[in-house]
């Protein structure tokens, strides 16, 4: 018997898979999940700071994608739309759990004296070697804690731009921000995290 079976879903583009999902092909949706689940889980973990919340965000994200796929407009990249759904889900999840009671990281911003010179002569260079100076598991835990201590304003920008390695423009699109605002917030987030790393390795107070 000859068949006219469709080619396997795994080799198809996102848009081709979405067209098949819209035509009722459940395997095509499963293929989208398979393609992006690791990325979404990683994003959810970094935005939420813990694995149990990340698991809930992962599930909620793909359920929303399944239910709202009709709202996806093909002029945007599917991955950008998916990241927006995942980021919004993570931020809403965090707010509903009243997160971020922990002390913010503002104290780790650089300090200057009245002449515009660094207020202390700390060994700033140690922060650049935090991954050599700290045990891997300890650093991993502290890094997640640090990201979690960033306020919503900075955390999503830093995670999308510097951890997920998206462009400034894509980060801005996902968060509904002006690219200039993304850059300003990213700079401040990097400064806070840099100071935090320096403090961890004992180079700065």
């Amino acid at each position: 018997m000859t068949t006219t079976a469709e080619p396997p879903v795994n080799g198809k583009s996102d848009l081709a898979l979405i067209a098949r999902v819209r035509a009722g092909d459940e395997d095509a949706f499963d293929a989208l999940v398979e393609r992006y689940q690791d990325k979404v889980y990683g994003l959810a973990l970094r935005l939420s700071g813990n694995s149990s919340d990340a698991e809930e965000i992962l599930q909620d994200t793909f359920l929303q994608v399944y239910r709202k796929l009709d709202q996806f407009r093909e002029e945007a990249r599917f991955s950008t739309w998916l990241y927006r759904v995942a980021t919004n889900t993570a931020l809403m999840h965090g707010r509903s759990k009243r997160r971020h009671q922990a002390e913010p990281l503002d104290d780790y911003l650089p300090k200057f004296d009245e002449t515009g010179t660094f207020a202390s002569s700390a060994d700033f260079g140690r922060a650049a070697r935090a991954d050599e100076l700290l045990e891997r598991k300890q650093l991993a835990q502290k890094a997640l804690e640090a990201v979690d201590r960033l306020s919503d304003l900075y955390r999503a920008v830093f995670v999308l731009r510097d951890i997920e390695d998206l462009s400034t423009e894509e980060t801005a699109e996902i968060l509904g921000l002006d690219p200039g605002v993304v850059r300003t917030r990213l700079h401040r987030a990097r400064l806070m995290l840099r100071g935090y790393l320096g403090n961890l390795v004992g180079g700065e107070s």
Partner: protein
Amino acid sequence: MTEHYCRQCVELLMDYVEGRLSPQDKVTLDEHFAKCPPCLDFMRSYRETPRIMREATATKMPVEVKQKLRLFLEQKKRMQ
């Protein structure tokens, strides 16, 4: 360029490490780094921070989380 340039230097770091400074500003910063070891160290640690954070928070999705996601979605689809 003044000697007390550290604050301005920090403000320009993002553009510096991403190669977005004007040639003139880049020369000004490079000259400052040559004279100011704390700013040079600060720039290096600023530049390394995203990489360190990215590597430290790298994760692999556990197999059981994948299985629970698949079961969760199958259950929800049946309820549609």
